[in-house]
């Protein structure tokens, strides 16, 4: 029985990832900002799987609170086997094209917060010599696009950060996995025109957890995005600039 921390647990993707871990009998610590929602997600996992589920408030942008939060998780679970970072937001993207505060907030939640908490996790697992860290980044982090680069830049930063962590920790028996989902059928994509390869959060969650438990380094989910991004990354900047992808 493992103890797993899931950060950003109120998102549909995280919720179904919690289902997958709970199905395997893991004890969970779910963290998010919206405590009412978090309690609902936790109760759901408890009722469905009879799992032991703890909850705690976590604000990705409030970096100064991360140390205390981390200690609390360790205390409650009495040790930890894995951390899954799912927190992320596209809220405020429109403002982020013009306002410094907005772009900063977007980067804080999606990148700085992740880097902060995962640093604590990295040190913990490094010392124990085992465990796993998984971060949900995004295909948006593979290439800067006019439509969402503030978000993409933060996710790109997260991908690089995880890559570095992987390098650092692989020598110490700690697995770091980067998940790069494509379009997921959630609030972030709702109301937009037909998006290619739109996948349900259930499916992305299931595949992601399989990928994490297999100890893969980087994976696109669904896998087709590997090919899509290979093509998109290979378009020369000169051409890309004139396209509206």
């Amino acid at each position: 029985m493992r103890g797993v921390l899931i950060v950003g647990a109120t998102s549909p993707l995280a919720r179904y990832m919690a289902h997958e871990f709970a199905r395997l009998g893991d004890t969970l610590f779910l963290a998010a900002r919206d405590m009412d929602e978090l309690q609902r997600v936790a109760s759901d996992v408890q009722v469905r799987f009879g799992a032991t589920v703890h909850t705690g408030r976590f604000d990705a942008a409030a970096v100064e609170t991360h140390e205390a939060f981390w200690q609390e998780v360790l205390r409650v679970l009495g040790g930890l086997d894995g951390v899954v970072w799912v927190a992320g937001t596209m809220d405020g993207l429109e403002d982020a094209f013009r306002e410094p505060q907005a772009v900063r907030r977007l980067i804080d939640v999606n990148f700085t917060g992740a880097a902060s908490l995962l640093t604590l996790a990295a040190c913990y697992f490094e010392e124990r010599g085992k465990g796993f860290i998984a971060g949900v980044s995004s295909v948006a982090g593979d290439r800067g696009r006019a439509q969402n680069y503030p978000y993409g830049a933060a996710k790109g930063g997260l991908s690089l950060f995880l890559q570095g962590l992987r390098n650092r920790l692989s020598k110490r028996g700690v697995q770091v996995t980067t998940i790069k989902p494509g379009f997921i059928d959630t609030r972030m994509t709702w109301g937009r025109d037909k998006l290619p390869f739109l996948a349900s959060p259930q499916r992305v969650a299931k595949e992601s957890v399989q990928i994490i438990l297999k100890g893969k380094d980087v994976a696109y989910v669904p896998a087709i995005w590997w090919l899509v991004m290979l093509v998109i990354r290979s378009i020369p900047e000169k051409v890309f600039k004139r396209m509206s992808i």
């Binding site: 549909p12 919206d34 997600v41 109760s43 609030r187 709702w190 109301g191």
Partner: protein
């Protein structure tokens, strides 16, 4: 929190009528409340999985709040079988979560792909209505979001008028956020079914009355095409939950494991000529012929309760124009005569239903606009054709004269007058509606068509 809407044409399960709506799909309870902040000239309506047939879950040029993502289980008491869950939880989800622990739905409609919140809004009935009544009887309490933004709990003790107005209230008294439901204890995932084939309507009804009381579940398939001597013949299906001892020895180890069926799907609209009187005759005749009387047949719960669910999008089989289900309930008094009139009128006017199901109903749950009342309920599926609605209007008249009524969850076309005449408790319901929703924020195409908020003339 951004909350985009999707401007889209949607329909009920019958694919008639169609409506252009603004679809919201909140993923959090806070998001449901937030949705109401938007400006929608035609107000809002909660919607589950769109399995109501007609316009009950449509709101043209208004907001539709899809509840499917508000689907968390909140609490379950293993000893009493009471579950508290969010309204968007589907019946399929309830079964897959609790059947392995020995609990089943207390009442289920003929599809499991619908939400518990909507089942309460329609006060759905199942094959056990003669025995247990509708789902409202098993609802312990509800948590509603009122148009004012206020969240209230209601039950038989707490805000009872609101409770009874919401059970069967078609989503118009508030958005149900949570439901507390009493589940039913079962020993297995299997049913024991006795099939009885009858020769005519008289025998059909007689068999019903003689045997019904001994079974938890009963329903009859009627051959509505057969005329003359075979008029009203059918196949009655009496069922009960199997106990472990009933099971063949090989199944006793895993009594809740049932075979998984491969889903089939209807990929395109079938052209109209496929469902002509001849093919309907052939279909009905074949069904009748292949269902002889047999006792003690084992079937899994999916086969018994949800025969159509394994054919995805079967509603497309009725063709591009869609179909309506006409379902009425007729009091027992003169029931035989009235049923005969209905079936004969349909036949005389060449309106042959593709599917016809007859059931017996027991006491009402007390829901003010609930459909069930003691009597026979018959449901007829008609593909839409020129002239069909005139025939159905004639059938409506028979129902009015008989003192019966039509089921709102299936209706797409009855007149406001018919509705006002046949739902005598409407003023009592309107009093609650006026109180909780004075500005008429919660609306639907059904509500406007039936002039739900007008006083009868």
């Amino acid at each position: 929190m951004t909350s985009l809407t999707l401007h889209k044409q949607i329909t009920g399960w019958g694919r008639y009528p169609r409506a252009l709506c603004h679809l919201y799909r909140p993923e959090r309870v806070g998001g449901v409340i937030g949705t109401l902040q938007h400006a929608e000239p035609n107000g809002f309506l909660p919607r589950g999985l769109g399995r109501a047939y007609g316009d009950a879950a449509l709101n043209s040029e208004g907001g539709i709040i899809l509840m499917e993502r508000i689907d968390r289980f909140l609490a379950f008491d293993e000893s009493t079988g009471v579950v508290r869950c969010e309204a968007g939880v589907s019946l399929a989800d309830i079964i897959s979560t609790f059947l392995p622990r020995g609990w089943f739905l207390p009442v289920t409609p003929g599809t499991k792909f619908c939400t518990v919140g909507a089942c309460v809004a329609c006060d759905v009935h199942g094959k056990n209505h003669h025995h247990d009544g509708s789902i409202g009887n098993f609802v312990r309490s509800l948590t509603l979001l009122l148009p004012s933004g206020e969240t209230v709990r209601c039950s038989r003790e707490q805000n009872p008028e609101l409770f009874y107005a919401t059970i069967g209230g078609m989503g118009l008294t508030g958005i149900t956020l949570e439901v507390e439901l009493q589940l039913r204890r079962v020993d297995t995932g299997w049913m024991v079914v006795d099939y009885v084939r009858t020769r005519d309507l008289d025998e059909t009804l007689r068999t019903f009355h003689e045997r019904d009381e001994h079974y938890l579940y009963s329903v009859a398939w009627l051959d509505c095409v057969a005329q003359g001597r075979g008029f009203g013949r059918g196949v009655l299906m009496f069922g009960r939950h199997a106990t472990v001892d009933n099971l063949p020895p090989a199944r006793r180890q895993n009594p809740f494991t049932i075979p998984r069926k491969r889903d089939k799907s209807v990929p395109v609209d079938l052209p109209e000529f496929v469902l002509n009187p001849l093919s309907l005759k052939a279909f009905n005749g074949a069904y009748y012929a292949t269902h002889p009387s047999r006792e003690g047949v084992f079937v899994d719960y999916n086969t018994y309760f949800y025969p159509l669910d394994s054919i995805l999008q079967w509603n497309r089989a009725y063709g591009k124009r869609g179909f309506v289900q006409w379902q009425c309930v007729l009091p027992y008094e003169n029931g035989m005569e009235n049923l005969t009139r209905i079936l004969e009128t349909a036949q005389r006017r060449h309106a042959y239903p593709f599917l016809s199901v007859l059931k017996r109903m027991g006491e009402s749950s007390g829901g003010i606009l609930s459909f069930p009342m003691p009597g026979y309920t018959i449901a007829l599926d008609f593909p839409i054709r020129n002239g069909l609605f005139e025939v159905l209007n004639e059938l409506d008249k028979i129902v009015i004269e008989a003192g019966g009524r039509l089921y709102l969850a299936k209706d797409a076309r009855m007149s406001a007058e018919t509705f006002h005449t046949t739902y005598p408790q409407l003023p009592r319901w309107q009093a609650v509606k006026t109180q909780v929703d004075p500005k008429g924020v919660l609306q639907s195409d059904l509500a406007r068509r039936l002039r739900l908020m007008e006083v009868a003339k």
